[in-house]
């Protein structure tokens, strides 16, 4: 099992959490997971929506310590 990647996009206005995730997924192996941290509440909605559209898997998402997090597994 490869190590879960972390994208700390807290405070990132541009390119923002979803763009960072898209770029990061291109470098990952199928089955590998990435956790993205964001201070933008929209991330918790946008990322799972996009993953469903494209076919990646949202493993978990939620809020902790004043920020939002989403864990995504690359599925294709």
């Amino acid at each position: 099992m490869s190590e879960r990647k972390l994208i700390d996009a807290r405070g990132s206005f541009c390119p923002g959490p979803l763009m960072e995730l898209i770029a990061s997924l291109k470098l990952m192996e199928i089955g590998q997971e990435v956790e993205i941290l964001s201070t933008d509440q929209g991330t918790a909605k946008d990322v799972p929506e996009w993953c469903a559209k494209v076919g990646h898997e949202t493993v978990e998402s939620g809020e902790k310590d004043g920020h939002w997090y989403v864990v995504v597994r690359k599925a294709k």
Partner: protein, 379 residues
Amino acid sequence: MSKKILIVGGGLAGTIIANGLCRHISTEIRKGDVSITMLGNTDTHMYQPGLLYVPFGKIRERELFRPQRKVLDKRIIFHIDPATNIDVDNKKVTCKSGAVHEYDYLVIATGSRLMPQNIPGMVEGAHWLYDLEGARKMRDALDKFEGGKIVVNVNAPHKCPVAPLEITFMLKEYMEGKGLWDKTEITYTYPIGRLHALEPVAEWAKPAMDAVGIKYETFFNTKEVDPKAKTISSEEGVTLPYDLLVTIPPHAGAEVITDSGLGDGGWVPTNKTKLLREGSTDVFVCGDTTNIPISKAGSTAHFEADTIIDNLASLLTEGRWARDYDGKVFCFVETGLKTGTYVWFNYTTPPNPGAPSQMIHWFKLAYNRLYWLSARGLL
């Protein structure tokens, strides 16, 4: 014992740092206490943002270039000898010629590169303006274009995040100027669910596109281009026909970064306020090369470079840290061929672009010349 500063990369970031350091530690350099060496890939320095104007015939190519040796302070030792391996454990960099350079402090500023080859059909089917050859080809294609469907396609990751919008609005005015707008349809595609990563910019762009009839397709991550059928398809399942495809190809970092095991995709894991490589206290990273989730833009590199200059100068002369990088980015946004606006933000201040005006467009044109003062570390 003289301290050696080694800068890998002769683009904007490396050049500003090298020249800035010469001014800040001129006494130490004169006494022979510090030396500054730069390893570059070419003898020519290019003003990359000027490429935006090439396809539209709005700039002479020679305005984009200066000899790198003339841009650099004479006290900088400059080798045109690309780095092939960076060994941060043994503090040495090996070059294409076989030369090995040791350092006390290293600055990695190797930038990013276009990777259209990563998307099937993109090289054969698309035009882009992010390098000179591409910009020339796009200029030729626009000369011959007599109307039809133009797709402006944006891929992640890419540098200069506002350029795709600039290209789109400039294309519209260019086609108007040729009297072909009524025969032209522009569709702009973007990877996420709005028209720009910066929400306020996206909120400005949507009604601006609606007002002039520019179409858009969001959540569009390019899967492939079919140059024969002249279509572009997304991972999300949308296929668009085109007569002229203008793309912002996906980018990657420099090969030397991946070859040296310093970061996936050529992006070096970097502390976002210290601008030090994660795990190092003597390796600074600047500009596109970092993996910091921030715009890959000339202004980012510039503000990061200023921070690194202050910290390196302070470490060398007083043995202390000077200041942290606050995430500042400032970008002009051309909103057509005659108007512009700007946007700035940092880690704690969200962007808030103002209304476009001709004055800001002129300011951007002026900066196209003033850039050479930035590169020399004077502005």
